[in-house]
């Protein structure tokens, strides 16, 4: 029956186990837990760092897109302004050209009028002279010089009216 005997060996084995447990705890388990925690922390820190970097990149991207947007807006404004200016310039030029053309036209008209008036007056004058000459030729001899002139002048004045 000594296969199943329980004796002092069990106490010794219990002591052995406790010693082994203590030594393994001090030399392996505690350090294992510490290393495990350190590893977890390291991994978490790296994940956090990556997250931060990602967020930063996102922010930068947003900033860049905003900047791009503002730049586009500004360029659009510039283009709009430029086109407006160009239109203004064109309009002004057109107006000025119109004004000048008007001016030229009026001056030309004036000149034409003046020339016509001149021509008319000249023609009148000439006609008067011719008429006088003709009348003098016709009235030669019938009237004296003075009466002739007075008469002619009367006629002329009447024709002028």
């Amino acid at each position: 029956m000594d296969m199943f005997e329980i004796n002092l060996t069990s106490v010794v084995q219990l002591m052995n186990f406790l010693i082994l447990l203590y030594v393994l705890k001090v030399y392996l388990y505690d350090k294992y837990f510490k290393v495990m925690d350190a590893r977890k922390e390291k991994i978490e820190g790296e994940i956090k760092k990556a997250e931060d970097l990602r967020r930063e990149a996102e922010e930068l991207k947003k900033q860049a897109s905003e900047e791009l947007k503002s730049v586009r807006e500004r360029s659009e404004e510039i283009i709009r302004k430029a086109s407006e200016e160009a239109e203004n310039i064109i309009n002004e030029a057109k107006k000025r050209a119109e004004v000048e053309a008007d001016k030229i036209l009026t001056s030309a008209k004036e000149q034409i009028e003046r020339e016509r008036a001149e021509m008319i007056s000249e023609v009148e004058k000439k006609a008067g002279e011719v008429a006088i000459v003709l009348a003098m030729k016709i009235l030669k001899g019938t009237l004296d010089e003075k009466a002739k002139k007075e008469y002619l002048m009367k006629i002329l004045k009447g024709s002028e009216k």
Binding site: M3, L14, F33, R39
Partner: protein, 280 residues
């Protein structure tokens, strides 16, 4: 493997086999009843004249377990002195065992307060029992048989003694797990909750609960003892039956490496399961 260790291993194996075969031919008794006479007996030394349980001791168990514990302590100190974030070879060996056990314990134990103590106890049990099972029988050497009150030393006729083939070791550890599980239960649920758990689901079940709880350490210890002790006896008998054509170590390859490792894992996992059943 280095050349020197290779040569040493070959010399050792040659010596072992020749001595074993010589032993089998010349010294092992031809009569089967003579062989099996001292098979189930243990070498027990009585310290004082008084014959009581506390004066008798099994020297082989203690020698083997001290050898294993000293080896483990040397390994632990060597690895633990520079435990690094990036492990080297020995440390990764230890860490792979720890990771394996920690995963099991973490998945079984719900209460995070008890994960680490349970892990320590079960891992220590696993390491100690696995090494005892594997190395205890695989170290060839002295075989001590007791026949009719006289101690007889035989060389190489059996595997060496595994500490787990002694019921003292197994029953001690099973009782320790039993006590620890109930201590954890008191710590987790309070004394009232623990006392109440004996009367569940109703007070009529109290004797059944007591028997069920007491059966746990018995079956826990006898399972390991039966596997390893029975394996040792079977190893001896089988190698006797084949007339030492295969030496006991060859059979221990099955009973120690395969059965022994599985039984060590079963012992540790049952310890975890008992603790988790008590604290939840």
């Amino acid at each position: 493997m280095k050349r020197k260790t290779k040569i040493g291993l070959i010399i050792f194996l040659v010596v072992y086999f020749t001595v074993g075969i010589i032993n089998a031919i010349f010294f092992v008794p031809k009569d089967a009843s003579q062989v099996t006479q001292g098979l189930a007996s243990r070498w027990i030394v009585q310290i004082s004249d008084k014959a009581a349980w506390y004066t008798r001791i099994n020297p082989l168990t203690i020698i083997m377990s001290w050898a294993i514990i000293v080896g483990l302590i040397i390994f632990a100190v060597k690895v633990g002195k520079n435990f690094k974030l990036i492990p080297d070879r020995k440390q990764s060996l230890a860490e792979s065992v720890f990771d394996f056990m920690y995963e099991i314990v973490e998945s079984v134990i719900d209460d995070p307060r008890f994960v680490k103590p349970t892990f320590m106890i079960s891992t220590t049990l696993f390491i100690y029992i696995a090494i005892a099972n594997v190395l205890g029988g695989a170290v060839p050497g002295l075989n001590v048989t007791v026949a009719g009150g006289t101690v007889k030393f035989t060389l190489f006729s059996d595997t060496f003694f595994a500490p787990t083939a002694d019921l003292n070791t197994n029953l001690t550890y099973a009782l320790m797990v039993f006590v620890i599980s109930h201590a954890f239960a008191i710590k987790a649920k309070g004394f009232k909750g623990w006392a109440k758990s004996w009367f569940e689901p109703n007070p009529i079940m109290f004797p059944m609960n007591v028997i069920g709880e007491l059966a746990k350490p018995i079956s826990h210890s006898l399972r390991l003892f039966g596997n390893i002790g029975g394996g040792a006896i079977l190893t001896f008998m089988l190698s006797y039956l084949v007339k030492y054509l295969f030496l006991p170590v060859v059979f221990w390859g099955f009973f120690g490496l395969f059965v022994g490792l599985i039984q060590a894992l079963v012992f540790a996992m049952l310890a975890v399961a008992y603790i988790s059943a008590q604290i939840s």
